[in-house]
């Protein structure tokens, strides 16, 4: 039930993000979700695309440092408290969320959130037990 994310190291200077977008467009890769975490000097761009392998190769060829990480894609009810419920469940079980970000596309009525969690398998089991929909990776890439 894991989904795969790629992360890219970026210097915090004008045009780097645009360059990544341009390289991916050139490689005919579609970005499904994207989040940038940055400091004053550098940033880490996290991406989910329709073809992570191709995206990684294209970026590596252009000299970027890129890595792969497993994440969980979860449906979140698009109403107040939807996200809170999920975080509560994880918190109760003392499962730490490193970071999260929203998916561009909705899945039907629901929003989709990406969670980066160390105890990933434990988290997936727990969420499913609580009737929360965890979206299969293959489905995430083509949403």
């Amino acid at each position: 039930m894991r989904a795969e994310q790629i992360s890219v190291f970026l210097e915090n200077k004008a045009g780097r993000l645009a360059e990544v977008a341009a390289i991916l467009a050139e490689a005919d890769v579609n970005i499904r979700a994207l989040a940038l975490a940055d400091t004053s000097d550098f940033g880490v761009l996290r991406l989910i695309t329709n073809d992570n392998q191709k995206a990684m190769q294209a970026l590596k060829n252009r000299g970027f440092t890129v890595s792969k990480t497993d994440v969980v894609a979860v449906e979140v009810e698009d109403k107040p408290g939807g996200l809170n419920r999920i975080l509560d469940i994880l918190h109760q079980a003392e499962i730490n969320v490193e970071y999260m970000y929203a998916f561009v596309q909705h899945n039907g009525k629901n929003a989709v959130m990406i969670f980066r969690i160390d105890a990933i398998d434990e988290a997936i089991k727990l969420l499913q037990k609580n009737n929360i929909t965890v979206i299969e990776g293959s489905q995430v890439y083509t949403m």
């Binding site: 994310q5 210097e11 975490a37 550098f42 880490v44 996290r46 000299g63 890129v66 890595s67």
Partner: protein, 433 residues
């Protein structure tokens, strides 16, 4: 293998007798043929007859890089241009380049010493030498080339650059010895990896690396990545070029200086006082067999020490330790002496960071600031910002701890630091003093 058993293993007493004879001949030669030296001797009331022992060398003033620049281009040549068969020049990062000349006999001497050096580093006449030192005005490429031919090995004059083609040549020609700068070697390793070529499948046995300061950590990294034995070679165009000193692959512990051709001294760079064996200071050379471009007590600006202990390889020539820095690379930051090589050691000590780094020194409000740029290679990267921030903090903490100077560490993208002819640009000093 010891190529020249007679000279390289000569008992010290016999060696010193030859050295003194050759020194006297060189002093006569420069006194008679180089106006710069005649003037310098006269100013200091020295005549060639005053040099009776090796100890007397200390009376003669030093020759500096500035002296060479002042006599640009051919003022220091000791023979007529008719007898000069080759000219090399070192790139001048500030001002004019340093120009050096060779007679036919000088070229032959150089080839012989370089052949000795290659043999000490593991090469034999049966080897194929992939020579990735740059060919041209720089002495590296041609120096190694002539030595390889003198040894009787097969040399591939591939020179620097066009790295992908170099990897293909390595695969197809099966060279067994690599000669290159250590930083270019790491670059070769990177490109080979990108191309899916493993050095384990290549035929290299030994590598002979020099022309820039490197560290013991870098040696380990190169040996492991290339699956070879790596030795250090030393030389500078003013003295001859590569092949002034070489590490034997048996001991890999310091570089034997070819003392039948060069006299080494270590001095205090501040006072000029000659330091005893073992103490660290500036390396000074006197050439004793060169015809076209002899130098007396030339200050190399390289920082090292001398080790007179006998070596397991059987050579009797003294060893210099790995060059740990340059007197002019030495940065004084808020009163603390900092050598770039020290920063390199700190970086290698953390997660075995590849040493692609650059030091930037600025002066803000009369205060010196040091920024260390570190390229984020795959091994260092994490998708978590806090992991990267911890890395920055750890490098900064260790620099403070080991060097006693505060530094801001900044992570940059791979290849963000400029390389110049395979050498990383290590220091940018923006201070206007």
């Amino acid at each position: 293998m010891i190529l020249d058993i007679g000279f390289e293993t000569m008992p010290r007493e016999d060696l010193e007798a030859i050295v003194l004879r050759r020194l006297k001949a060189t002093i006569d030669h420069v006194y008679a043929n180089v106006p710069f030296y005649r003037k310098k001797f006269e100013e200091n009331h020295i005549t060639p007859n005053d040099i009776k022992s090796l100890e007397d060398l200390k009376q003669i003033p030093f020759t500096t890089k500035k002296d060479l620049r002042d006599n640009y281009p051919f003022g220091m040549f000791a023979v007529p241009m008719d007898n000069v068969v080759r000219i090399h020049a070192s790139s001048g990062t500030t001002g004019k380049p340093t120009v050096v000349g060779y007679t036919a006999r000088d070229i032959n001497t150089w080839a012989e010493l370089m052949a000795r050096a290659l043999a000490a580093g593991g090469a034999t006449r049966g080897d194929i030498i992939h020579n990735a030192y740059g060919y041209g005005l720089f002495t590296g490429g041609l120096g190694v080339h002539y030595g390889a031919e003198k040894l009787g090995a097969s040399v591939i004059p591939v020179s620097g650059g066009n790295t992908k083609r170099q990897i293909i040549i390595m695969k197809d020609f099966g060279p067994t010895i690599l000669t290159a700068t250590p930083s270019y070697t790491l670059h070769l390793a990177e490109v080979a990896e990108e191309m899916g070529v493993s050095f384990r499948d290549l035929k290299f046995k030994f590598g002979i690396f020099g022309a820039e300061p490197w560290s013991e950590n870098m040696r380990q990294e190169i040996e492991q990545k290339l699956n070879i034995i790596a030795v250090d070679i030393y030389g500078l165009s003013e003295i001859m070029g590569p092949g002034v000193a070489i590490e034997c692959h048996e001991a890999k512990k310091g570089l034997h200086i070819f003392e039948d051709h060069f006299i080494p001294e270590i001095i205090d760079p501040g006072t000029g006082e000659v330091l005893p064996y073992g103490e660290t200071g500036e390396l000074v050379f006197t050439t004793i067999t060169k015809e076209a471009f002899p130098l007396i007590r030339y200050r190399t600006r390289d920082i090292t020490s001398l080790n007179p202990e006998p070596c397991i390889c059987g050579r009797t020539h003294i060893r210099m330790n790995r060059v740990s820095g340059r007197t002019d690379d030495m940065l004084i930051i808020r009163g603390v002496n900092v050598f770039p090589s020290q920063i390199e050691s700190v970086l290698m000590g953390i997660n075995e960071v590849e040493p692609h780094y650059q030091l930037i020194v600025d002066r803000k409000d009369k205060l010196d600031t040091l920024t260390v740029l570190v390229e984020v290679e795959e091994r260092l990267f994490s998708d978590e910002v806090k992991v990267l921030q911890n890395l920055e903090r750890k490098v900064s903490k260790n620099i403070k701890e080991y060097l006693g100077v505060s530094a801001k560490v900044k992570l940059v993208e791979p290849k963000a630091i400029a390389r110049s002819q395979g050498k990383a640009v290590r220091v940018i000093d923006n201070r206007k003093i």
